[in-house]
C-alpha cells in the first residue's frame, strides 16, 4: 500500500518535473496584462524614477495603447513595432513574438494599436534617445 502511494508520488513528481523543465515561455495572446499604461506615462516613470519604474514594470506583462511610429524588420525577419508620441525622442520598442506576426500585416505608421509584452527594461542612450523595451509582444488592433 505504502509502496503504491510512494510510486504514484514519484511518478507525479517526475511528470511535474518533466513538464516544468519543458515549460515554454507564456504566449501572451491569451494572457492577461499585469499593468496597463499609456506610452507617455510609461516613459515618464522610467525617465524620472527609474528604480521604482523598474520594480513596477520589469518582468511584468504590460499593455500599452499608442500610435505606431515605425515598424522595423531586421535581417533575420524579426519585427519591432515602435510606439511614440509626437515631440518625444524616447519611444517604446516592442519586439514582436515570432509566432504572432500575421496580426501585424497591414499595420502602417500612424495607426493606434494595443500592444501587450513583457517589459525587459529601459535603455538610456544620450546619442540615440531612451527607450522602454518590451518583448514577446502581441498586437490587438484598434
Amino acid at each position: 500500500m505504502i509502496l503504491t502511494i510512494l510510486l504514484i508520488g514519484l511518478l507525479g513528481a517526475g511528470w511535474f518535473g518533466y513538464g516544468e523543465y519543458n515549460r515554454k515561455p507564456k504566449d501572451l495572446l491569451k494572457a492577461k496584462a499585469d499593468l496597463s499604461v499609456t506610452p507617455a506615462d510609461l516613459l515618464k516613470e522610467f525617465s524620472t524614477t527609474e528604480k521604482e519604474a523598474s520594480t513596477k514594470y520589469i518582468d511584468k506583462i504590460v499593455s500599452v495603447r499608442g500610435q505606431v511610429k515605425a515598424i522595423e524588420k531586421s535581417e533575420q525577419g524579426f519585427l519591432t513595432v515602435v510606439l511614440a508620441e509626437t515631440g518625444n525622442m524616447s519611444t517604446i520598442r516592442c519586439s514582436m513574438d515570432g509566432n504572432h506576426l500575421q496580426e501585424i500585416t497591414g499595420i502602417e505608421p500612424g495607426r493606434i494599436v494595443d500592444v501587450k509584452g513583457v517589459c525587459t527594461g529601459f535603455n538610456t542612450d544620450e546619442l540615440l534617445g531612451s527607450d522602454v523595451l518590451l518583448n514577446r509582444c502581441v498586437i490587438q488592433l484598434q
Binding site: S54, S74, T80, D125, L133
Partner: protein, 184 residues
C-alpha cells in the same frame, strides 16, 4: 550679418557631414550558444543597440540582459535569477574600437575583415577582449558580424556542479547587426 549667416551655414554642413559618420541600430541580434554534453542551450536577443563611428572606428554595444529569449521558460528564469543576476546587473556593454578601421572603405561596397578590441562588461565584470569580425557595406548600410567565445568564469558567472554537463563554461556569442546612418 552676411558673414554670420555664412558661418552658420558652414557649421551646419560640418555637423551634418559629421552625423553621417555614425551608424546605428536598436534591433541588433546577438545569440549565445552553450553546447553541453547533455544539451545545447541557445538564447536570442533581438533588441541590441549598436553604434559605429566610421571615422574613428569607435564601436559600442548595449544589451539589456532580460531581453534574451530562451525556448524553455525555466532556462530563462535560471539565466536571469542565478547566472547573470539581471536584476543586479541589467545591462551588458561593449566599448571598443575597430583597430584596422583605416582599411575599411565605408563608401565602397564590399566585405571587410576587421579586428575589434575593447572592454566587455558582463555581470558587473569588465574584461579586455579582442575579436575578429566582418563589416559588410551594401546599399548605404553597414552589416557588422562577429563570432567569438567567452568564458563565463571570467565574468564571475558560476555554474553549479549539478548542471555542469548542461552548461559549458565556454559560451559562443554570435553578433549580427545591420546599421543605418544616424541622422541628426
Amino acid at each position: 550679418m552676411q558673414k554670420l549667416f555664412s558661418i552658420f551655414v558652414l557649421t551646419a554642413i560640418v555637423f551634418s557631414l559629421h552625423a553621417q559618420d555614425k551608424f546605428f541600430t536598436k534591433s541588433g541580434n546577438i545569440t549565445f550558444i552553450s553546447k553541453g554534453s547533455l544539451e545545447t542551450i541557445e538564447a536570442n536577443h533581438k533588441a541590441v543597440t549598436c553604434v559605429l563611428d566610421t571615422k574613428t572606428g569607435n564601436l559600442q554595444f548595449s544589451v539589456l540582459m532580460k531581453g534574451f529569449e530562451f525556448e524553455k521558460a525555466l532556462m530563462q528564469e535560471h539565466f536571469n535569477e542565478n547566472y547573470v543576476e539581471s536584476d543586479k546587473f541589467p545591462k551588458a556593454e561593449f566599448k571598443g574600437v575597430v583597430i584596422n578601421n583605416a582599411e575599411v572603405n565605408y563608401s565602397k561596397e564590399g566585405t571587410y575583415p576587421v579586428i575589434v578590441k575593447g572592454k566587455l562588461t558582463l555581470h558587473g565584470e569588465t574584461k579586455d577582449t579582442e575579436t575578429n569580425g566582418l563589416v559588410i557595406i551594401k546599399g548605404g548600410k553597414i552589416q557588422a558580424t562577429s563570432s567569438f567565445n567567452i568564458l563565463l568564469s571570467d565574468y564571475k558567472i558560476d555554474i553549479p556542479k549539478i548542471v555542469k554537463d548542461n552548461i559549458t563554461n565556454s559560451v559562443k556569442i554570435d553578433v549580427n547587426c545591420k546599421l543605418e546612418p544616424l541622422k541628426s
